[in-house]
Symmetry: C2
């Protein structure tokens, strides 16, 4: 299997090393062959090649079975013009590869739940999968421009029916293999695009009679994620709503550094990255939490390579490490042992083998 590695910025390089170590272990345990190609993206690519998404990188990703990404961005490039911002690399590669479905699982680890900002009785038992549309909506709609001598500005929320259908279908399919509950989030009392979205959800619901569907307005969803996180199973929504709600959801369990994400399309090709950012403040110190990245590797094995057993092994190993008390500085485990990126990775490897 060909995997393109895009370490990116900040702690991206350090945690990408952990990903490689884990993949090499899986390869030898299960007799798989993974080949790695490393390429530049984000601020790193701006510094080296003058663009956040070099042609070489695009080409390599297009020729791969899956892509692993560390993180992009940092204060160094904050003042850059829009087309020279690290995020453009991320937005660009999503669009180029047609990765229309962003999967963001949010699930607590019992040894870490005490760090949640929510009361234990509120967060307990939560297990949410947020599915966000990733290549349409306000992010890519045109026109997006100043008008009338800078006195006016417009952005455009545009979707085709087909773009909505495929992501909504992904929502139903995911709910079907989980707890059969789908929450569709929109703003149908205001937006025409949301009214079309809701119609399509109703249509698709007929093809999935075993899935229970509810519609929730985005403002109500933002409330209920906090007051009743454990009422949700799968949430499906458009790009910007998904951006906001998935980030909101990511802090509920109190361990953002643990969360993986997958951006996929229908043929199985996908890009996998931890939810946390590039954390420039701890870059190079060897203390970054590699578990979000390692769990993203698990998602890659599951979704892109259909290696369910291997994926589950990794997830179990991560959980065991935590049970054994190993944690990086961003986490806290009572009576546990604080370790760096390499030791944490080593602990996962030991539980794997």
């Amino acid at each position: 299997k060909k995997i393109t590695l895009l370490p990116g910025d900040g702690i991206g390089k350090e945690i990408m090393e952990s990903a490689k170590v884990v993949l090499n272990t899986i390869a030898s345990e299960y007799d798989h062959r993974f080949s790695f190609q490393e390429h530049a993206i984000g601020g790193d690519a701006i510094d080296r090649y003058g663009t956040p998404l070099p042609e070489d990188t695009i080409q390599a990703c297009e020729d791969s079975d899956a892509v692993l990404l560390g993180a992009v961005g940092g204060p160094k490039w904050d003042g850059n013009p829009p087309h020279l911002r690290p995020e453009k690399g991320l937005l660009g590669i999503r669009k180029k590869l047609g990765l229309f479905a962003n999967l963001r699982p949010v699930q607590g680890f019992s040894s870490l739940l005490h760090a949640s900002p929510l009361k234990e009785e509120v967060i307990k038992g939560s297990d949410i999968l947020i599915i966000r549309e990733l290549t349409g909506g306000l992010y890519f709609g045109r026109p997006s421009e100043r008008r009338n001598d800078g006195k006016e500005v417009v952005d455009t929320l545009a979707y085709s029916r087909q773009e909505m259908e495929r992501i909504i279908e992904k929502g139903f399919q995911s709910a079907q293999i989980r707890n059969k509950q789908l929450t569709s989030v929109d703003k149908a009392n205001v937006l025409e695009s949301s009214r079309m979205w809701r119609e399509i959800v109703e249509e698709k619901a007929k093809e999935f009679p075993d899935v229970k569907v509810e519609h929730l307005l985005v403002d109500a969803a933002a409330m209920k994620l906090i007051t009743e996180p454990n009422r949700f199973d799968v949430i499906v929504t458009e790009n910007l709503f998904g951006d906001i709600l998935s980030d909101e959801a990511s802090v509920l369990t109190g361990s953002l550094g643990m969360l993986p994400s997958a951006s996929v399309r229908t043929d199985g090709v996908g890009l996998y990255e931890p939810v946390h950012g590039s954390a420039p403040d701890i870059q190079g110190k060897g203390i970054a939490n590699p578990l979000g990245m390692i769990l993203s590797v698990a998602l890659m094995l599951r979704h892109s390579f259909h290696m369910e057993e291997e994926a589950t092994e990794i997830e179990k190993a991560v959980n065991e490490c935590l049970e054994q008390g190993y944690h990086t500085g961003d986490l806290d485990i009572k009576g546990g042992q604080k370790v760096g990126t390499k030791e944490m990775t080593q602990a996962v490897i030991e539980n794997l083998t």
Copy 2:
């Protein structure tokens, strides 16, 4: 002072009675004259006049010094076509009156804070004012339509520079009379409108050198509201972001039923309403919590009538009721006394006089 009352739907009528009782008490205590005119809006107006916002209602509001609104909406009208939805009445009156600034204070009451979904150490000390732009952006931008035989759909996020300037200015002014901290929320890494917004914030910042400004992306803001609610003072943002974030913030203290809101323009005219909805499930039972409405009356006295003392009196009286243990069924006070809408209102009156 001429006040238009728009009870609307569900529990709107019941809590509007409480507002009247409180205003009459203030009138006789302070020797003010308030005249009331009641008009229809929302579902009630649809049922009686075939439109969610009758001309009469608009006229009455335009001739008033302030408007009080109960709540609009309910399952009865959920199947209606867009132009016959209760919410259209609310959106319409905001736009007609040019109420561009929505003020949403979020503050905990110490006797109720135990009901927060957040841990006490997280929520303690939070005191946030969210200022949401209310008459622009995706809510009103055109085109908003299906295209190409229903195969495509667009909504438009449109703002003029002047619309942004006045709400951002409101943000600075509000921060200046509070804790001098302004958080401007946008999505400047993706949206052109957000980049213009950010430029205007930077410009205005020069006119308010005593206010500390920070920029936060909307996804990061959705996270930080949960993890560090007490780091915020004033938050200013555009319409849809404000809709989502203010509703998210409204559940943090655990007593949504207590929260008031104000929608104002520069000349002081405003519309005041509780944040909670029409709660059709408890309509007519006499158990609705009137305190969100009563605190909205206080906001009206302060912002539209410059009756600071009277407003503070009401706020104090509400607080005293809670300290005395009075609460409606949506709240819970240890060792307290559960009462209905009328008794709760009476308790406020007794603390007022």
